[in-house]
Amino acid sequence: MTHESDPASRFPDACRVWLVLVSVCLASLLLVGPAHAQDGRIEYRSLVSYVIDGNVLLESDVSVRLSGLSRAALQSGVALEFDVEIDVIRQRNFWPDKTLRRYQIPVRLSYQDLTRSYRLERLNSGQRASFSDLDSALDAVAQLRDVVLISEDQLSGRGRYYGVMRVQLDLDALPGPLRTQAYFSRAWQLDNGEQTWPLR
């Protein structure tokens, strides 16, 4: 680390600001389009529902991979927050589908320099876990076991029932300076998408 910044990059930085201001609209337009292959991505490996004691349970196996920049930010002490969202939906003909249940699980991932471990914390329950490596921690972000989604009785109506899971990185939870950059940078955009699976 140095005290002096690179002289060559000092003035162009000011000029670049103007370019950014002018191209904000174009950049935002580009971001609206479909995301392509990125460093960061989310892969829904397995989403399985089963019935135990009259309740429909979920077991999920979701792989989250961060981009290099996100990893660096995490290693530098920036906590990342993920939003895990699960919907139980009833499909209807000639009518918009009806959401029967919605679960939102905010999960914070942080790096602990003291113990060289990664801490995972579910913010709505306070549940914590430590992981010695990042990939294990990321795999646990949306890994759910025996989570009760809904009572089986509520799926007795006609029609098809299915679940939808969405996992996304919450950019609003980033620190201010990073947030501004994250809105316009693909390095912070996770190809999250969503995954559906049948419930009945």
């Binding site: 000092r10 430590s130 300076p177």
Partner: protein, 727 residues
């Protein structure tokens, strides 16, 4: 009059308030930016709002600048007065604001960057690294101590009898300062458990971990506890000395030393914050510069907008003066400029308004005078146009400039033929204008101030006598005015009056001795007729002759008396067709060889006239026509009645097939004793003329192309007041 001109109005208050809002926003933004620069979390909260608000305001001000620029560009293209100067002022004011702001911006960015860079220091970073390493070492030492304690617990409990195992486990919990102690079987199942906390017992262990422990290894893991934070888990082999017990793994959990843990977490927190700042140094600079640039853009745009308003405000009086001057040049004196301020331009505006007011008063006076002159001229023109005297004005080259209606009628020329035609060019020609030119030119040539000439114009209806008086006009452009009077009716009236007087005197002087002469002749005849013998025949012839001639003279005197003494007239509505048929009927009993034909339309309008006099008129003209054809084997008279095209008169036209009028004497045909016949008094047509005049009519005499006389009589249809005329 040109359309009302558009003056610059004062700028609206809305714009002023918006400007105040923009500058308040700029100041607040700069204050917040400056205050949040030293606090990352505060900057994160404030920066988003700053960006959004400043971006919106920037767009609003940019739009207003664009509108002003577009309007100014339109003014420039339209050549609006003052627009070029406004452009210059806007550029100057903008540059005045832009140059210092740009310099300050560049230096602000530099200071900002160097200020952020100054947050980071190699020594601080190294110290933090060292502190973290130290903390790790301290925790590592504690973990090793914990591991040692776990091994001791495992050994001690392995030697305890089964019955004593539960209290021994609880005792070990306190003796070794453990949080939780679990004894597990070969498969990892929980056999016995003791805990210092109130949580639920731990769940099962993974098979791989159990296998690793069973192989003789000690596994140490760091756990996160919801209640107690960091916790050290030690899994160590349980080398049981008692047979028949399925206890192979000791699972021990220990909390870290509170003080050590707190210090370690503080070190970690500080280290992570520093690491975070280091990582976010460039994004932080970028965010600061973006926000600062946005504020600068807002400031610059606001400055440009103010430049527009200032330039417009400064140029308003100039523009209005230019517009006002243009209006005055177009003759519009009604425009008033908006009142100016108290400066020199305001004084100029007020002076301009005063000047325009005075100009308007002067022009109104001039317009009024001109209107009066025009009115007088129109009045004179109307008078001149309606008088019976012909009036011509000539320029200094003897070319007619104007001629009134009476002049046109007298000269019988189309005005276009003579207006502008030099009299010298017309002098050799024929017609009234040529006669006038011949009479006037000698006087015009010598430049007489006033002169008079009589002009006799031969026409189809006789000779017309015109009196022409000329006068030189005393005007700058020179010229003459000619006044022409047709005195033919006056001459004719004088002549008629003279003849009437003659007739009256003749009748008076001759009538008196005729009766004594006749009586004397009859007495002579009566006394000496029987006594004279042979001479009686002579006497008889002589006295008969005297008596016959006296009778004849009496008839003549009677005719003269009728001519001289017009009877009182009694005007009534007269059906001229019926009257004519009545008169004609009297002549239809005449010998064969004569024919009288009459045509008249149905529903002929009545005229206002004296039936007795009209009857006399009809007798005279029919008798005159018949007498003119007396020597011919076949005589024919054609009479026709009609209404004129303009529906103003009834026309009576008579035509005979006699020798016609002697055109050489036609201008005196209405005088007594003027006749083409061997017999008669020559008073017939004179009386006809007299009766026509009494009825405001006209009479024209002429000859038909195929021979024979033609008399045309016109009687007006317009109802006239009942007139009485005492002859």
């Amino acid at each position: 009059m040109a359309a009302p001109l558009k003056f610059f109005s004062r700028d609206s208050d809305t714009g002023t308030w918006l400007m105040v809002a923009v500058f308040t926003a700029v100041l607040v933004s700069l204050y917040l930016l400056g205050n949040s620069a030293d606090n990352l979390e505060r900057f994160g909260r404030v920066n988003d709002y700053l960006l959004i608000i400043d971006a919106i305001l920037t767009l609003v001000v940019f739009w207003m600048v664009a509108v002003n620029a577009w309007r100014l560009f339109g003014d420039l293209r339209s050549g609006v007065a003052g627009s070029r100067l406004t452009v210059r002022l806007v550029i100057l004011l903008t540059l005045t604001a832009l140059i210092p702001v740009s310099i300050i911006y560049v230096f602000s960015v530099r200071f900002l960057r160097s200020g952020i860079d100054s947050w980071f220091n190699v020594q601080v970073e190294q110290a933090l690294d060292s502190a973290l390493v130290l903390s790790r070492e301290a925790i590592g030492d504690e973990i090793r101590e914990i591991q040692r304690r776990a091994t001791q617990i495992s050994r001690r409990l392995a030697e305890v009898e089964t019955e004593e195992l539960v209290p021994a486990l609880s005792g070990a919990l306190g003796a070794f300062n453990a949080y939780e102690l679990n004894l597990r079987g070969r498969q990892g199942g929980l056999v016995l458990s003791a805990s210092d906390g109130f949580g639920f017992p731990s769940s099962g262990l993974g098979a791989s971990v159990v296998a690793q422990v069973l192989s003789g290894d000690t596994v140490v893991e760091i756990e996160e506890s919801e209640r107690d934070g960091l916790m050290i888990l030690v899994l160590t082999p349980f080398l049981d000395t008692q047979p028949m017990r399925d206890i192979h793994v000791l699972e021990a959990r220990f909390t870290l030393d509170a003080r050590r843990r707190q210090l370690g977490e503080e070190v970690q927190s500080t280290f992570q914050r520093y690491q975070q700042l280091t990582f976010m140094r460039e994004p932080l600079k970028f965010s600061f510069v973006v926000t600062l640039s946005l504020i600068l853009a807002l400031s610059v745009l606001a400055a440009i907008w103010i430049a527009f308003r200032l330039a417009r405000s400064l140029m308003r009086p100039v523009h209005n003066l230019a517009q006002g001057t243009l209006a005055v040049s177009q003759g519009d004196f009604s425009q008033r400029l908006p009142p100016g301020g108290r400066d020199e331009l305001g004084f100029l505006v007020n002076s301009f308004n005063e000047m325009v007011s005075q100009l308007k008063t002067a022009r109104d006076d001039a317009d009024r005078s001109q209107a009066e002159v025009e009115q007088q001229r129109a009045f004179l023109q109307a008078v001149v146009g309606r008088i019976s005297t012909g009036v011509l004005t000539l320029d200094d080259q003897a070319r007619p400039r104007t001629i009134n209606t009476a002049g046109v009628t007298m000269l019988g020329h189309d005005p276009d033929e003579i207006i502008g035609m030099n009299m010298r060019d017309a002098v050799t020609g024929n017609g009234a204008y040529a006669s006038l030119a011949r009479a006037a030119l000698p006087h015009l040539a010598v430049g007489e101030a006033t002169w008079q000439e009589n002009i006799d114009l031969p026409t189809a209806r006789g000779t017309r006598t015109l009196v022409c008086r000329g006068a030189k006009m005393d005007v700058a452009e020179g010229g003459h005015v000619l006044v022409v009077d047709d005195i033919s009716p006056i001459i004719r009236a004088e002549r008629d009056a003279a003849w009437s007087e003659v007739a009256r005197r003749l009748a008076h002087e001759i009538k008196n001795p005729l009766t004594p002469i006749q009586l004397s002749a009859e007495r002579l005849r009566h006394r000496y007729m029987e006594t004279l013998g042979d001479d009686a025949r002579v006497l008889d012839r002589a006295t008969r002759t005297i008596v016959e001639q006296v009778e004849s003279m009496k008839s003549m005197v009677k005719a003269f008396a009728e001519y001289a003494d017009t009877p009182a007239l009694h005007f009534t509505d007269v059906d001229l067709g019926f009257l004519l048929e009545d008169v004609v009927e009297l002549y239809r009993g005449v010998p064969s060889g004569r024919s009288i034909e009459m045509t008249a339309p149905e529903n002929l309008p009545r005229i206002n006239g004296d039936e007795g006099r009209l009857r006399q008129l009809l007798h005279n003209i029919i008798k005159n026509a018949l007498e003119a054809q007396e020597d011919m084997a076949h005589s024919r008279v054609e009479l026709s009645l009609s209404v004129t095209d303009d529906q103003s008169s009834v026309m009576l036209r008579l035509r005979d097939h006699g020798p016609g009028f002697d055109l050489g004497r036609i201008d005196r045909i209405f005088e007594p004793y003027v006749t083409g016949k061997t017999r008669g008094t020559g008073l017939g047509l004179a009386i006809v003329k007299q009766i026509v005049t009494e009825h405001d009519g006209d009479i024209e005499l002429g000859n038909a192309d195929t021979g024979g006389a033609v008399i045309s009589l016109r009687f007006p249809l317009l109802p006239s007041l009942e007139k009485t005329h005492d002859g």
